[in-house]
Every structure is written in C-alpha cells, then in structure tokens.
C-alpha cells in the first residue's frame, strides 16, 4: 500500500511537471504583462525595459520556467541592464512553496490565494454538501421507485437542471429573489458580494449572501449527481447478490441500506472524491455574477491582466489537489472494496 502511494505520487509529480510546462508556455503568450501592470499603463520605453529586466521577462522561456519552478536565489541577475549580473535573485520557486509575486498587486501569490481559498471553499463545499445530501435522498428514492410518477416527473426536471446554463439560473434566481421579491415587499436575498460592507463580515451575513450562489450551483450539481446515484443504485439493485439477500428473507430496509448501498457507495465515493479538488478552482461564472471574492474571480481577473504567477499558481494548486485526491480516492476505494488490494 505504501509503495503504491509512493508510486502514484511519483507519477503525479511527473504529470504536474508536464502540466506546468504546457501552461507556462501558454501563459507566455496571453498578453503583455507590463502593459497591464497594476492597472496603469507604462508608456516610456526605458521604463518598460527596466521592468522587463526586473521581472526576468528578457530571459529565454526555459530560464523563466526554471526560475518559476526552482527559484533564482542561486544565481545573479542583471537589474540595471549593463549586461553584468549585479544582484542575487530572491525567488525560491514553486517547488519550495514560493508561488512568486503578483504583477498587479505586488503581493505574494500564496498570500493572495490564502485570502481567497476560504471564500471559495465555503461557497463550494456548501454547494457540494447540499447537493450530495439531496442527491442521495432523491437518487435512492428514485431508483427504488423506478418508473413511478414522482420518479418520472423528477427525472424530467433533472434534465432541465442538468441542461441549465449556470448564468441563466443565476440571473433568473437573482431576478426572482432580489428584484421581484423587493418589488413585492418580501424579504429579498442579496446578490452581490459576501457581506454587506455596512454590517461587516459576520457569519450571518456570509450565510445570507451565500444562499443564492449556493442555490444556483446546487441545482446544476444536483442534477448531475442524482442522475449518477440513481443509475448506480439501479445497476446495483439488479445484481444477483441483491436477489440472494431478498431470498434470505431480509427486511427490505436491510437489503437496500446494507446490501445495495454499500456497493453503490463505491462508485459514488469515487466520483465525489475526484470532483472535490476541482472545487478549489472555484466557480468562475458564479463568482463573477455574484461578485464573490473567490478563486474563480482571482483567476479570471489576473488572467485578463496576464499575471502569470497568480494564474499559474491557482492552476497548479488545483492540478496538485487533483493528483492528491486521486490517490486519496484510490485509498478510500481500497478500504471500501475488499476486492481491491494495492500491492
């Protein structure tokens, strides 16, 4: 088992290297970072040149990647442009936990991500929990009552949820719960940000502001999850061992919740486990619409300004989480399914 984890980790590292090289190459071409630095336009050619040198943008891509990856504190860099290296580098590289500094805010990327991660996680995890809770209830019910009227109605509705563009459901729910409710004099839900600046960031405020985005996200995830759970349950319920359990005269409850659910849990856990790391990436569209200061917004804002360190940092964070969660999922799977033993 230990060997298996080591092996998977090694593979993961290789995978991350390939991903990072590819992304780095892409990022080199997404725009002119100098042009958008800090929101002000740098016009003087001499300033441009100095900045380019300072940022190491004059170096070949391979060197830039190396600096990004492993830092440049072991080498001298030329800051004044006289061709003689004069100052030792300060970057430690992503391998040593230094994600670099943002061109826009000048703050370390790790700090910026650390600021945003809780916001994203609170939104995404809440949606995930709400989703899984309802999806399990509905998925199991619907599988047990396959082809009942309620199953048919709900299954059709699921399709609508599944096909719903997230911005459309967001805009519609904003329109209904904010604008119309306000118009009708009902208590209306806020649509922008995490809290009312006048009240401050209290847990209650955050909760209140979360309702709409969480609802929008949940509708879409719910549809996908419950379809999957329903399908898995149906598959399991048609297995021979369920027939055996019934033939033993076990109460229906026991057949469903012990014999069927334990088997259905395997694929469900896998899917949830593999989805979890992607939550770190945030919900770009939702965060944009609801002005939620999360990872998705961070990514989007800094991508448009060609802020390489921030964009690379957040992408690599997700990719790294994907690798880790894949291994975790395998471990959980092995723990749940006695047939699988990694040696």
């Amino acid at each position: 088992m230990f060997q298996f984890i080591l092996k998977r980790l090694a593979q993961g590292v290789v995978l991350l290297l390939i991903v990072s090289i590819t992304l780095f190459l892409l990022m080199m071409e997404v725009g002119d970072p100098i042009a958008t630095m800090g929101g002000r336009t740098v016009t003087r050619p001499s300033d441009r040149e100095r900045l380019t040198r300072q940022l190491g943008l004059d170096k070949p891509i391979a060197v830039q990647y190396l600096y990004w990856l492993a830092g440049n504190d072991w080498t001298q860099i030329d800051t004044d442009g006289d061709g003689i290296p004069d100052k030792s580098g300060t970057r430690l590289g992503i391998l040593r936990g230094d994600f670099g500094k943002s061109l826009v805010t000048k703050k370390p990327v790790t700090e910026m991500i650390a600021e945003r991660i809780p916001n994203t996680l609170i939104l995404m995890l809440a949606s995930e929990v709400v989703t899984i809770f309802f999806a399990l209830i509905f998925g199991i019910y619907s599988a047990l009552k396959q082809y009942s009227t309620l199953d048919n109605i709900l299954t059709t509705l699921l399709f609508v949820g599944y096909s719903m563009p997230i911005f459309f459901i967001s805009l519609m729910s904003m329109y209904l719960f904010f604008i119309l409710f306000k118009k009708w004099g009902l208590p209306y839900l806020p649509t922008v940000g995490m809290f009312d600046p006048e009240v401050g960031k209290t847990p209650l405020q955050v909760l209140w502001h979360m309702i709409l985005p969480v609802m929008s996200l949940s509708v879409i995830y719910f549809a996908a999850y419950s379809r999957y759970i329903r399908g898995t349950m149906l598959e399991v319920l048609s297995q021979d061992y369920i027939r055996t359990a019934k033939s033993k005269g076990l109460p229906r409850r026991q057949v469903v919740y012990v014999h069927a659910l334990k088997n259905a849990a395997l694929p469900i856990v896998t899917v949830v486990g593999l989805d979890l790391p992607f939550l770190l990436g945030g919900a770009v569209v939702t965060e944009r619409i609801f002005a939620w200061p999360g990872m998705g917004r961070l990514f989007l804002d800094h991508l448009s300004r060609a802020d390489v360190s921030v964009v690379m940092g957040s992408l690599m964070l997700v990719a790294g989480a994907v690798v880790v969660f894949q291994i975790l999922t395998d471990i959980v799977y092995a723990w749940l399914d006695p047939r699988i033993r990694y040696t």
Binding site: L16, M27, F159, F167, F168, G281, V311, S314, V318
Partner: protein, 315 residues
C-alpha cells in the same frame, strides 16, 4: 440419416428469432418510444429552423445595425425581443447568434470525436507504451478544470486569427479559435470511452476469429471493432454537443469567447448582468434559447442511450 437431412431443410426463414430489421432500425424503433427524446428532436429541429430559416426573414446587416436612439427598448411589436444596449434588435441577433452557437457546438464536437476515436482506438487496441503515453496526455488535460483551461487557451489564441469571410459574410476569427479549443480540450472523455470499448472488444471471439483468418490490424480496428463502438460514441458525441454549446456560452459570457460584432447566444449575455433589473429581456431570450438547445440535445442523447443499449438484444 434421413432424419438429419429433413431437420436441416426444416430450418428456414421462419426459424429466425427476430424480425428482419437491422440494428439501426431496431434502435430507431426504441428511440421513437422515448417521448422526451422525440420532444427533443422536434425542439431541436425548430431551433435549427429558427436560426437558419430566420436568416430569410431578418438580414445580418439588420442584426448588426445599431440604432442608438432606441437603446434598451423592451419587447414591442417592432422588436419582439426588445433591443440591446446599443439599440440592436435582439430577435435578429438571436437568429444569427444561434447559427454561430450551433455551428460551434457541432463542429467542435466533430473535432472532438475524431480526436477521441483516434486516441482511444490506438491506445485501446495497441496498449502498452502507446496507451500509457496517450493516457498520460489525457490525464494531464483532465487535471485542470475545463473552464479554466478553456479560458487560458482562449486568452492565448485570442486575436491571433484574423477575420474570415465565407459566402459574403464576415466572421470573427475567434469563432475558429473557440471551435479549436473546445475540440482540443474535450476529447479525453470520449477517448477513454473508446479505449475501454476497444479493450473489451479486442478480446471478443469474433476478433480472434478475424485474427485467425489473417485479417490485418487496420481492418480489425476500423471494420471490425470501430463499428461496434458506434453506440457509445454517438451517445457521448450527442451529449458533447450540448456541452460544447454551454462551453462556448460560458467563455463568451466571460468576454473571452467569440468577439463582436459576430453574435452568439453566449456573448449576447456578456454584459447583460448589468441590466438584470432594467432590461431582463437582454439575458432572458438568449439564455432561454441556450437552455432549450442544451435540453433538447440532452433528451436526444438520453433517448439514444436507451435505443442503442447493447444489453437489449430484442427490439
């Protein structure tokens, strides 16, 4: 011995266990029974009529004509869906936007399908190092959330392809970019499906029989195995069209997709959130059209899944 000969001649057409229908005919019979799928088909045909037939009612010039004096007008008899923030007719723009959105959806999936089949077939059939190599690429692409990857790529290619002129019409180069990047970032799922199919089919006895005869690998891959993977490929590709249309809508909504003046349902929504209250028609009609399209395609895909299910042998 006489008993033997009579028994052989007695075996005739009426001994067949199933009616003389091809597998496709059987699938069609089953598909027709799927009410939602039929509903999806009808809706999709209507949407295609709307987008492509609508061009005969409203010209493209009209769709791009901005009358700044009539900005943000609510739906009226003149502008059925209202006007946008620079006074263009939304109805006309949804017609031309629909053409592009649907075009992007179908062409991107065409690319995706070709890539997915090739990668999946080669990886699954030959296995070994080739398989490992191709699957690592797929994994690498899968380790970044699709929407983030699409945004990076859209930004990378943005503005690099000049405008194109086809049949007297001008399209933003971004249409090609979006098609290419959606195609390039979505083939992995299909490749995995095709690979799994190939892995299981290549051990099938009819493949062994072909190999025993001396049939070449090329023929086995393309004539023997591939036709047997059509069912999952068709289902997956159909559902992919819905996903591609959504993907285009998302990146265009975020402003990195198809660039104006070329309209798509996605980029019509780009700044509409600002007019959430003042001009809901701005986002309602394109949003509704996207929803309807995606929904009908998903219904069709589900119907196909049922119809092409290899587990049901009978009608």
């Amino acid at each position: 011995m006489t008993a033997q000969t009579t028994s052989i001649t007695q075996l005739s057409a009426d001994d067949l266990t199933a009616p003389p229908l091809s597998l496709w005919q059987l699938a069609w019979l089953r598909f027709r029974r799927h009410k939602l799928a039929v509903f999806g088909c009808v809706t999709l045909v209507l949407l295609l009529l709307y987008s492509f037939g609508g061009a005969f009612v409203r010209t493209e010039a009209y769709a791009n004509f901005n009358d700044t004096s009539r900005r943000l007008e609510p739906p009226s008899s003149e502008h059925l869906f209202g006007t946008d923030s620079i006074g263009r007719d939304i109805l006309a723009r949804t017609i031309y936007g629909g053409q592009i959105s649907l075009f992007i959806g179908f062409v991107a999936v065409f690319i995706e399908t070709i890539l997915g089949i090739l990668v999946g077939a080669l990886a699954g059939y030959y296995g070994g190092k080739l398989d490992a190599f191709l699957m690592r690429i797929a994994e690498a692409l899968l380790s970044i959330p699709t929407i983030l990857l699409l945004l990076v790529m859209a930004k990378f290619f943005g503005g690099k392809i000049p405008e194109i002129h086809i049949a007297g019409r001008t399209f933003s180069g971004s249409v090609i970019v979006i098609i290419a990047i959606i195609g390039a970032t979505s083939w992995m799922y299909l490749a995995r499906i095709v690979r799994a199919e190939f892995l299981s089919l290549k051990e099938n006895e009819f493949i062994l029989a072909a190999r025993a005869t001396g049939t070449s690998n090329f023929q086995i891959i393309f004539y023997h195995i591939l036709p047997n993977t059509f069912a999952p490929i068709i289902v997956s590709s159909t559902l992919s069209v819905a996903n591609a249309i959504l993907a285009e809508a998302y990146i265009s909504f975020l402003g990195l997709g198809v660039q104006p003046p070329t309209a798509t349902w996605g980029n019509m929504l780009e700044s509409s959130a600002k007019y959430l209250d003042s001009a809901p028609w701005l986002w309602f009609f394109p949003g509704m059209l996207i929803l309807l399209t995606v929904l009908s395609i998903n219904f069709i895909g589900d119907g196909m899944r049922d119809a092409l299910d290899p587990r049901s042998r009978a009608i």
